[in-house]
Symmetry: C2
Subunit: 248 residues, 2 copies
């Protein structure tokens, strides 16, 4: 039985202020909870009797058995699922030495929670371990972002810090995509690098631009037609990452 | 002044049945309406006085000046905009001869309206003029799809027909993406071809698979890690189209 106060608490995790104060975030659905239960400290697991029966190995500080109607009252989804989990937000530290050895993503004011979640999923697919987000990016623990990662947030580490602070320390080449950049297919792409992607509407900000030595453009086809003004930022991230990871 | 009946009619276009009966669809927002007004027959344009003042060239069978609060009552968006347009759904014919000369996309049960809209936008970017959708795909004129195309639906033609019927007539190579396909980076990709993308959860259906001679796989990195189970279908479409369009 899921009490009123717990329902209220769970629903409050939609808001950043409440997430910051409680140090918790919400994940919903069997696939997502299954993918994240081993990766985060679970404070509260709410599930139907059938789900708990099928997942006897599930561990949490508190487990509440609830009817689907009760879960629906706590859920932030349009189509509530049979399980939801409240996790503790982990503390992530960026390993500066590792950045010198790998491909790292940096996001400059990517504001849409769904886009951020999709980018985390793309990073996971392309073996990118760290994403550095500017403070104005969407919050990783926004429930919409969490859901859009499809569980990838348990593997990819997302850090928040001013990008000038991060990029000024980086010794590997820093790439970014611009509408007036060089065609990505004609440029050498380093294996150890930072790739910066910009805001949905305005691209990479004037504040971040000076740190980007290698300006890339993802060409349309036939090149220069540019019927649509741009690719969605998550889609552009995928196309760019695929090219970085393409066998040379 | 926007009357009750018009508000009801506009809102009814959220449902496929009403779209089919009226032969109309809805587009909202200045950017989207601006991009589509020349491409479709506009039955009804509803806008604020300020928008109409700034767009004197806008033509429609009926133009209604309305206050923002009135537009908000008719709008299907969370954040209503200053203009919305009701267009006549056009009749599209697939030019079979053109398919032999180009790259064409075919979608097998892509059910999410947002994914379909994003794919239309990607097709536009990569110079793909036609998309053939199986009848079980999301409807192009679903307002969520329309909004997600960002106006690209005025340039890309989307057709609905059973894919076996379409693919059995095609003489260019037919490609599709499968988890057990051949690495796309090791395969010759024809310029004139059909590329089939499958359903969000289950991929390409058993009914369509026999028509696909060239099975492709979009590799993760490092290859075979496959931490996430897959890329989102729109993201996968972009990565595949980018590779088809990549300079050889």
């Amino acid at each position: 039985m899921l009490g009123k106060n717990k329902i209220k608490f769970i629903r409050s995790l939609e808001r950043k202020k409440e997430r910051r104060e409680s140090g918790c975030f919400l994940a919903e659905g069997s696939k997502l909870v299954g993918d994240t239960l081993d990766a985060f400290a679970c404070e509260l697991l709410v599930a139907t009797p059938a789900w708990l029966q099928a997942h006897r190995e599930a561990r949490a500080a508190e487990i509440v058995e609830a009817a689907p109607e009760e879960i629906a009252r706590a859920s932030l989804l349009t189509t509530p699922q049979e399980v939801l989990a409240v996790y503790r937000i982990p503390h992530r530290t960026l390993d500066a030495a590792a950045v010198e050895e790998r491909l790292t993503l940096a996001l400059d004011t990517v504001q849409d929670p769904g886009n951020l979640g999709t980018i985390v999923r793309i990073a996971d697919w392309y073996g990118i371990d760290d994403i550095v987000c500017s403070p104005a990016c969407a919050d990783l623990y926004n429930p919409k972002t969490v859901q859009a990662t499809m569980g990838a947030l348990s593997r990819v580490r997302v850090h928040y810090m001013p990008l000038p602070e991060f990029l000024s320390q980086v010794r590997v080449p820093v790439y970014g995509t611009f509408l007036d950049g060089e065609n990505i297919y004609t440029q050498p792409l380093a294996e150890r690098a930072v790739l910066v992607m910009g805001n949905e509407g305005s691209g990479i900000s004037a504040e971040v631009e000076p740190y980007i030595a290698r300006r890339l453009f993802l060409p349309d086809y036939p090149e220069g037609r540019a019927a649509s003004e741009s690719l969605n930022v998550a889609v552009a991230t995928a196309v760019a990452c695929a090219e970085f990871r393409r066998p040379k």
